[in-house]
């Protein structure tokens, strides 16, 4: 039957490392959206990491001789009514934002993945129990759920992360469940079932790998969203409380002086927007890259 054979293009078998770097060079880093995302995110990330060693005023340091100053070389984003450096406060706020974004995405991803897979795969009672609770949580508009939860749990970073995660986890469960449901009837699952593959095998080999892409995309959107929600909560005075800077409460502080010192409120907002846009491009790029048809 060799005469039937169609030649396959010979594939080398390069080392894992080489494969990794090739992928990085050719697919990930060369994707235009990913590049744009990195152009936005990497500088912000670097500045945030190196903020403590940069030659500028510390976030909490006041300087009564330089109050409400217009942006300058010395104070890139200007200063506030106590002469604090808005740029260094903003970078400190970004640190919080990133922490919140990352934590929420991770929590939502893990819980969404586990509970959504269980609900979708097993159906029946487990599904009904999980989805009833999910529906109850989804009945709250998400910002309001977060507001309600921080009002109970109190202010500070941990309550904020928990509150936003609680609002996001149900959405992730739902997404994962619907993915699992549509995968469950695919022929390759049937094929594995005909050789009596265990449920653990089906979930880990077939279901999770095929749902991960969409979940990662959702997670990076959730991170962007969490950053916005944290900022909103802090702006309303319900999230991170001063003097600890956060992007939301810096804007809140500046609100009173909007007319005299517009930069206090507006410039940190631009940074939030840049981060959110960067994360969105990243998720878009990741989605396009993970789509097997693009390979």
């Amino acid at each position: 039957m060799a005469d039937l054979s169609l030649p396959a293009t010979p594939t080398r078998k390069p080392s894992l490392l080489a494969v990794g770097s090739a992928i990085a060079r050719h697919r990930f880093l060369s994707h235009p959206k990913v590049r744009l995302a990195l152009v936005l995110l990497v500088p912000i990330l670097l500045l945030t990491i190196f903020a403590p060693v940069l030659p500028m005023q510390k976030p909490l340091e006041t300087n009564l001789r330089a109050m409400m100053q217009f942006p300058s070389i010395e104070h890139v984003f200007g200063t506030d009514k106590m002469g604090r450096d808005i740029f260094s406060r903003t970078l400190a706020g970004v640190q919080i934002s990133l922490l919140v974004g990352f934590s929420v995405a991770a929590i939502a991803l893990v819980f969404g993945m586990v509970l959504g897979t269980l609900a979708g795969f097993y159906g029946g009672m487990i599904d009904r129990a999980i989805m009833t609770v999910v529906d109850i949580f989804l009945a709250f508009p998400s910002l309001l759920l977060a507001i309600g939860l921080v009002s109970v749990m109190g202010t500070g970073i941990v309550p904020v992360i928990l509150a936003i995660s609680l609002a996001d986890v149900p959405r992730f469960i739902r997404l994962q469940r619907s993915q699992v449901l549509s995968l469950r009837s695919r022929a390759f699952i049937d094929a594995a079932r005909t050789v009596d593959a265990s449920q653990y095998w089906l979930m880990t080999r077939h279901i999770v790998p095929n749902t991960l892409a969409a979940m990662l995309v959702a997670a990076s959107i959730a991170a962007a969203n969490a950053i916005l929600v944290e900022a909103s909560l802090s702006f309303l005075g319900l999230g991170i409380m001063p003097p600890q800077p956060s992007l939301g409460n810096i804007v809140r502080d500046g609100q009173t002086y909007l007319e005299q010192a517009w930069w206090i409120s507006t410039l940190p907002g631009v940074v939030i927007l840049l981060i959110a846009v960067g994360l969105h491009f990243l998720s878009d790029g990741v989605r396009e890259l993970l789509d097997p048809r693009s390979r």
């Binding site: 039957m1 060799a2 005469d3 039937l4 054979s5 169609l6 030649p7 396959a8 293009t9 010979p10 594939t11 078998k13 695919r186 022929a187 390759f188 049937d190 094929a191 594995a192 079932r193 005909t194 050789v195 009596d196 593959a197 265990s198 095998w201 080999r205 077939h206 790998p209 095929n210 097997p292 048809r293 390979r295």
Partner: protein
């Protein structure tokens, strides 16, 4: 065919038509210089494999292509007028009025949220200048003509309330009601069952004949062409490679591609023991420019000139042109030769051991509305060692449910299933049968890993062996499913099914998603494996000619029951159950001589809903011979008898 063209007047003429699709990976030259003409009242069939540009060509005529498709050059003369440069507004006066169109998928071609009346009446009002009342009358008249029962009532239905066959009738009524001079039908029956297909083709044929409309009929089914067309255009890689009268094309095909295509179809005339000829390889990727003849890689007659210079259509008989440098293609009157005549399709000799046995098998599904779908109703079947059982029947008759029951993917409602050894499966849709995140090697190895067979190197070796056994290069193990063609994927599916040395392989429509030229490759592969390994097969298909060729025994199913069972050749040569007769009658045979001699009318009606089954004979509602006894008393089938069995009170 006894067709005599009246005074020849050309209705439609294409001159050097070019159509491109601008994609991110390159320009696809879907139509690459097509010229031909259709006379008034003539039915021209366009055949060719998927992707050969048939639809693109047809849609280019009225510029119905959507972005990124674009007519890139050439002329379209309708009644002598070049319509290729008309504005959209001017074309709209032609669309639907002078030229009607029927599309492939009746399920999606009608607006789902609009009543049939609305979709039909308004074009009639516009085109025939009638008022609403008259247009409604007219619409009802046409619905009646295309065979919709109770048209006055059904005209107020929504499309989702109709079956696929009924919707396609509506589409035809819509296309014909404005009395067009030309009807373009793009695979109008591909999505339908053979029996329904026969009805639809009949309707199209009668009605266009009645109105004198010409027809451009696109299909990949050569049997339909023989039944239906006056002339045939064979397309390959965006060009017409052969054009001529249907008798000439079938009797003396001149182009190697046509010759090969005709050879790959199992026919009733062919002996079962003959090996099926197959065309090697795949059609070219049309994103890349082609030098020389597009068919050269797959052509047995290819020579030096073919590689440098593209042949043009040239006269090779009366009204017969072909684009090939070799004067008679593969040879005078030749069709493709089987390349391994030493490996015939040997018939099976039973040694008595039973591999699969189904006893009084019932399967019901509960639907959301507390109704019960009775998919399988008391089926008894046996498969012996080394035997291939073919299961045929219309869609919805329970074929696939039996397959899933056999594999343990569904639990029977009652009855039992005995399988000596292991049953494995080859699925219909090569696209969804593989986990897109796994390599081919991983996919083939999965059964071995799950069942913990052998060590890792042993499994690796087994995978290599399996992949070459199905005729692929072992290097394919490194690839991902989306990097394979449909035929290659189906080979991988077979390799996976063989991994655990099953005693029976259930193949549910394994070739229906494949093109004709690739289909023969897979059928030959299955025949070889069956003989090499002595495995039993259950081969489920609605393609009766293929089943006849590959199966030793056939079970004909209707509404979840086996109505006839027997040796494949016998059932085909002498069908006894009225349903089997109708089914075999409906299959178009790729031979215009046979087709033109056919007299029988196609089976009427459609498969009743499996929600409320009749008490008597399941077939009574459509059976031309049904009597009161049939409606009251169920004809039984003797269980487990190798001899011929027929479930009919009046079987001849």
């Amino acid at each position: 065919m006894n067709y005599q063209a009246p005074v020849k007047t050309t209705l439609l003429e294409l001159r050097n038509l070019h159509t491109d699709f601008q994609t991110s990976t390159g320009t696809v030259k879907a139509v690459d210089g097509v010229s031909f003409a259709i006379e008034r009242g003539e039915r021209v069939a366009v055949v060719g494999e998927s992707g050969s540009g048939k639809s693109a060509m047809a849609m280019s005529i009225l510029r119905l292509l959507t972005h990124p498709g674009k007519v890139a050059g050439g002329e379209v003369l309708l009644d002598g007028r070049d319509i290729s440069r008309l504005s959209e507004g001017q074309l709209n006066a032609i669309r639907g009025r002078l030229v009607g169109t029927v599309f492939q998928d009746p399920m999606s071609s009608l607006d789902p949220v609009m009543r049939i009346s609305k979709q039909m009446i308004e074009p009639i009002m516009r085109n025939l200048r009638l008022n609403r009342e008259q247009a409604r009358e007219e619409a009802i008249k046409w619905l009646g003509k295309v065979g919709i029962p109770e048209p006055e009532r059904r005209i107020e239905a929504y499309p989702f309330e109709m079956s696929g066959g009924m919707r396609q009738r509506v589409m035809i009524a819509m296309a014909l009601s404005s009395r067009p001079q030309l009807v373009i039908a793009d695979e109008p029956t591909t999505a339908l069952d053979v029996t329904i297909q026969a009805q639809i083709v009949e309707v199209l044929k009668t009605l266009t004949e009645e109105s004198g409309a010409a027809m451009l009929f696109i299909t990949h089914d050569l049997g339909l062409v023989a039944r239906f067309a006056h002339k045939v255009a064979v397309m390959y890689a965006g060009r017409i490679v052969e054009f001529g009268r249907v008798e000439d094309i079938f009797a003396s095909p001149a182009h190697p591609y046509t010759q090969s295509l005709l050879g790959t179809i199992p026919s009733t005339a062919m002996l079962k023991s003959e090996r099926l000829p197959q065309i090697p390889g795949l059609p070219p990727d049309m994103r890349f420019p082609i030098t020389g003849c597009a068919f050269k890689e797959r052509c047995a007659a290819a020579h030096d000139r073919c590689c440098v210079e593209a042949p043009r259509l040239s006269q090779c008989g009366i009204d017969h042109t072909a684009a090939c440098w070799a004067p008679h293609g593969l040879g005078e009157g030749a069709t493709l030769k089987a390349e391994r005549p030493d490996r015939p399709n040997r018939p099976f000799e039973p040694d008595g051991s039973v591999v699969v046995e189904l006893n009084a098998l019932w399967k019901q599904f509960d639907t959301s509305r507390k109704m019960v779908v009775r998919a399988v109703n008391g089926v008894n079947l046996r498969v012996h060692k080394g035997e291939t059982l073919g299961i045929v029947g219309e869609s919805g008759c329970g074929k696939s449910t039996i397959a899933r029951l056999l594999l343990g993917l569904e639990k029977p409602t009652s009855g039992d299933i005995f399988i000596a050894g292991l049953a494995q499966m080859v699925f219909q849709d090569p696209a969804s049968s593989f986990n897109p995140k796994m390599t081919i090697g991983g996919i083939v190895a999965e059964p071995l890993v799950v069942r913990a067979h052998g060590s890792k190197p042993e499994r690796k070796e087994a995978v290599r062996r399996l992949i070459s056994q199905v005729g692929l290069d072992p290097a394919f193990a490194e690839r991902y499913p989306h990097q394979l063609s449909g035929g290659q994927r189906q080979r991988v599916a077979v390799a996976r099914a063989l991994a655990l040395n099953p005693s029976v392989v259930v193949a549910d429509e394994p070739t229906s998603a494949l093109d004709v030229s690739v289909r023969a490759q897979i059928i030959n592969l299955l025949v070889d494996l069956k003989q090499e390994l002595g495995i039993s097969f259950v081969f489920i298909s609605h393609d009766l000619l293929t089943v006849r060729y590959i199966a030793d025994r056939i079970a004909v199913m209707y509404l979840g029951e086996v109505v006839e069972y027997g040796a494949a050749e016998e059932v085909f040569a002498d069908p006894r159950h009225p349903y089997t007769k109708a089914l075999i009658d409906a299959v178009p045979v790729p031979d215009p001589a046979i087709e033109s001699r056919r007299t029988s009318t196609p089976l009427q009606g459609e498969l009743p809903s499996p929600l409320n089954l009749p008490t008597g004979c399941a077939f009574a509602s459509r059976c031309p011979m049904a009597t009161d006894r049939c409606r009251a008393e169920k004809p039984a089938l003797p269980t487990h008898d190798l001899a011929r069995q027929v479930a009919c009170h009046y079987a001849s």
